[in-house]
């Protein structure tokens, strides 16, 4: 469907991220900025697709902090602005976030964050609703795609009413789920951007300007009572209390969707009090109080950490209610991982004293059958150029006689270099010294991995600690380099760190679904853009050893990495080749046809250790799956006998 279609009342299927984008479009957004991050990337992809047509600005910024500032700058001039990011992206933003709120905004400013309970695509499970609590701004939390759209649209209004940014907290199960959504009308605001530096508060946009940060904090704190009043009137906070039920459910965000289905399953629909929460902070305290005073036990259902539960417990003390409050703090639900209808059903059943029967025979059969289900470890794509980079790195480490190398990872497709293989059982080590482990596949290459840009910083600490048991390496991709690595590269040069920084440049932000970045040559809206090169930036940062190679040429790549490992200083090797999936889409790479001659195969399995999903090994012989192979010929370069070769 056309997301910019102005047909109010029409019901369509929208992914949560599309629904959020549609909410921004209906709200008349003028400036939208983001950095890709699963599960939130499609918000900006959707906006960028219609930005030119609707006449607003949409961009992929170099990182979330820049994106936040771009959007905030728009809001200071009185137009409506939105920034979107994944959970971890907010960590980059916190500096500006915690300070911007002291002066607030003029135009509506909506901050959308996609959290990821269960860490489907993230390095942690952080609950960013706490950031809204911390920054003293309202948080809206949708229960489904319809609410995701409606709340985003309304968030602009609330933001302008309070003159504060408004937080919309989504999660994977909203962002990456789809539902039927009724469209609303698209507002056409055509506001002229204006600037008044003393608007309502002197030096409004300069936190140090008199009356200074403390007085501005006082102003911020003074907005809270207004927000508290507003949330009591919102349609997304709703108390259903009939008769004299003993049990009450408080369910926030998607928790309400799970809880409703759980109640139906348990046939408790209408028999318990139900408070649906759409604003976990500030809570609709009057509604919560009414519920607390009406029932004996309250179960709090929320996705993430117990933010609503904590506030409810505090409120119960304040209003002197003798009521039992259970949830994640009490252990009624696990404090880690995500919740779902089954988990909520068990929790409600327990509170209600309903015994759920378990079909033991079925559970036994299930356990037995589960053993048949082979794991499907996450891998790089068939013909991915990172396979070449990792192969070359492994060979070069072997050639320089590396004893226990440390390979620091980073965030991007290549992070799969540290995912391991699910079928391989690893026992924790209790060694007191450095330990060498074999690298049987590229998926066992990375030794550390945390966050965007983390590896190139860690490698410097390892060097300065005096680590001598092997070479020190960091890897990162092109988008990560521009997002987070440049200050660390400068620091390495300035502080004389030594080691190899391998930048795997495929010219796209691929893992999040192929967004363009400063190395791509196009903007978010598809306009041509200047191409920035990693090696040019590295040179400007003072790096003296820089080599660029094609990772499909294993010989040259291995040689370059080997030379860099032997270099007495901070070395950068850029392995550059357009992402294989992009090349296929753009028809830029026509692969070679692979010829398999199994009579020459000595079953050495080197082809298998390349880690390409198109390489097969059946009846003790190597081969290639013609449906998956894209003809990169990496396996032919690896095969020592010519059993696999490129035609």
């Amino acid at each position: 469907m056309d997301i910019a279609e102005d047909s109010p009342g029409k019901r369509v299927l929208l992914m949560g991220n599309e629904a959020i984008a549609r909410g921004a479009i209906e709200g008349g957004v003028k400036v939208a900025a983001s950095y890709p991050g699963t599960p939130a990337s499609e918000i900006m992809e959707t906006l960028a697709g219609v930005a030119q047509k609707l006449g607003f600005h949409a961009e992929w910024s170099t990182n979330e902090k820049v994106a936040f500032e771009v959007a905030a700058g728009g809001a200071l001039t009185g137009v409506r602005a939105l920034t979107s990011m994944k959970n971890a992206g907010l960590n980059w933003v916190m500096d500006m976030f915690m300070t911007l709120v002291y002066g607030g905004v003029r135009g509506g400013f909506v901050i959308v964050v996609g959290d990821d309970p269960d860490a489907h695509y993230s390095s942690n499970e952080q609950d960013t609703r706490f950031a809204a609590f911390y920054g003293e701004i309202p948080c809206l939390e949708p229960a489904d795609q319809q609410e995701a759209k409606d709340m985003t649209r309304y968030a602009f209004e609330l933001s302008e009413q309070l003159e504060l940014p408004v937080f919309v907290r989504s999660i994977t199960r909203i962002c990456h789920a789809s539902g039927d959504v009724e469209l609303g009308a698209i507002q056409k605001l055509d506001r002229k951007p204006v600037f008044d530096k003393h608007w309502k508060i002197p030096y409004r946009w300069n936190v140090y300007g008199p009356p200074g940060p403390v007085e501005k904090h006082r102003w911020l704190h003074g907005q809270l009572p207004i927000a508290k009043k507003v949330v009591e009137t919102l349609p997304w906070n709703k108390l259903e209390l009939r008769g004299k039920p003993k049990i009450g459910i408080i369910a926030s965000g998607i928790g309400a969707s799970y809880a409703r289905e759980a109640l139906r399953k348990l046939k408790l629909d209408g028999k318990v009090a139900f408070l649906k929460i759409g604003t976990p902070t500030p809570l609709p305290e009057k509604m919560v109080t009414r519920l607390l005073k009406a029932v004996k036990t309250v179960l709090v259902v929320e996705e993430g950490d117990p933010l609503v539960e904590l506030q409810t417990k505090a409120l119960a003390k304040d209003v002197n209610c003798d009521v039992e409050i259970v949830g994640k703090l009490s252990g009624a639900m696990a404090p880690v991982g995500e919740i779902n209808t089954d988990i909520v059903t068990s929790a409600i059943a327990k509170v209600a004293g309903i015994k759920l029967t378990e079909d033991k025979a079925r559970e036994l059969a299930r356990a037995e059958i589960s053993k048949l289900v082979a794991p499907r470890s996450s891998t790089l794509c068939p013909g991915c150029q990172h396979l070449g980079s990792y192969w070359a790195l492994k060979q070069a480490l072997r050639k320089v006689g590396a004893n226990v190398p440390i390979v620091n990872g980073d965030i991007g497709c290549y992070e799969q270099g540290g995912y391991g293989i699910a079928g391989k059982v690893i026992k924790p080590s209790t060694s007191t010294g450095s330990v060498r482990y074999s690298i049987d596949s590229p998926y066992e290459t990375l030794d550390t991995n945390y966050i965007m840009g983390g590896g190139v910083g860690l490698m410097q600490g390892e060097f300065h600690a005096g680590y001598k048991d092997g070479p020190i390496v960091a890897v990162a991709g092109d988008s990560t380099f521009f997002h987070a690595c440049i200050p660390a590269v400068i620091s390495a040069v300035y502080n004389k760190a030594k080691g190899l920084f391998l930048v795997m440049d495929n010219s796209w932000t691929a893992m999040t679904g192929h967004q363009p970045n400063p190395t791509t040559g196009v903007t978010a809206t598809g306009e041509p853009a200047k191409v920035l090169r990693v090696e040019d930036v590295a040179k400007a940062c003072g790096v003296e050893f820089i080599k660029t190679v094609d990772p499909f040429d294993l010989k040259a790549t291995t040689a370059a990495i080997e030379e860099a490992l032997k270099y007495d200083g901070f070395a950068i090797v850029v392995t550059r080749r357009l992402c294989t999936l992009q090349a296929q889409r753009q028809k830029k790479f026509v692969g070679k046809r692979m010829v398999v001659d199994q009579s020459k195969c000595t079953s050495c399995k080197l082809c298998v250790s390349l880690g390409c999903p198109a390489v097969t090994f059946k009846n003790n012989k190597g081969g290639v799956d013609p449906l998956l192979c894209n003809g990169c010929a990496l396996c032919a370069q690896v095969c020592p006998t010519g059993a696999l070769r490129a035609e």
Partner: protein, 199 residues
């Protein structure tokens, strides 16, 4: 309370997400509500993917409950089993493609791929039914485009008569959602799947 719970399972790149969106869009067009919950790993290609499709008058959660799937539609057999073992309801149907996409874990000898026979027995143990068709071959040899395999399976799904959606609506939504150049191949694929199950 009538609702249909379906899981479309496969491997990244096979088109399970598009198939699930087609079913959900068709359901909405026929006046029902729909939810699609997606679960997939990090890889663009080759990762395990499952789309939970829930259709009915009052569905709200995005995921099918344990033992709650009326149908598991598998574009790849191992992924069918992976989801059936957890979600297939008693009396539910595993409708699966027979063409395997071997995981790297199996290729490097760290795991074994289950035989079709063991998958069939497993589904029977779960009190489910299984229908297996070689959709990959049908797509490649008869529809003329291996990438229409997901549409063959979609046709087979509709052929079971278990969806509360009209065949015409589904076909129309297929037409609107596949690349324009592949409409004919996809409609052929749909018929191939439909007829295989109808037989």
């Amino acid at each position: 309370m009538s609702e249909t719970n379906l899981i479309i399972a496969g491997v990244g790149g096979q088109g399970s997400i598009l198939a699930s969106h087609i079913v959900a869009t068709a359901a909405i067009r026929d006046g029902l509500r729909a939810r699609v919950g997606e679960t997939f790993g990090a890889a663009m290609r080759g990762g395990a993917v499952a789309s939970h499709v829930r259709i009915g008058k009052d569905v709200s959660a995005p995921l099918v409950q344990k033992d709650g799937a009326d149908i598991v539609l598998a574009l790849e057999p191992l992924e069918g089993l992976r989801n059936a073992v957890k979600f297939l309801a008693k009396g539910g149907l595993l409708l699966t493609n027979t063409h395997a996409w071997i995981p790297t874990d199996v290729n490097i000898g760290r795991a074994e791929y289950p035989s079709m026979d063991s998958i069939t027995k497993a589904v029977e143990k779960l009190s489910g039914k299984i229908v297996a068709i070689d959709a990959t071959s049908l797509a490649q040899q008869q529809a003329g485009n291996v990438r229409t395999m997901n549409t063959v399976m979609l046709g087979a799904l509709v052929g079971t008569g278990k969806l509360p959606i009209s065949v015409e609506t589904l076909k129309q939504v297929v037409k609107e959602n596949v690349p324009p150049k592949t409409v004919d191949a996809n409609l052929r694929a749909f018929e191939l799947g439909f007829n295989t199950v109808q037989k």
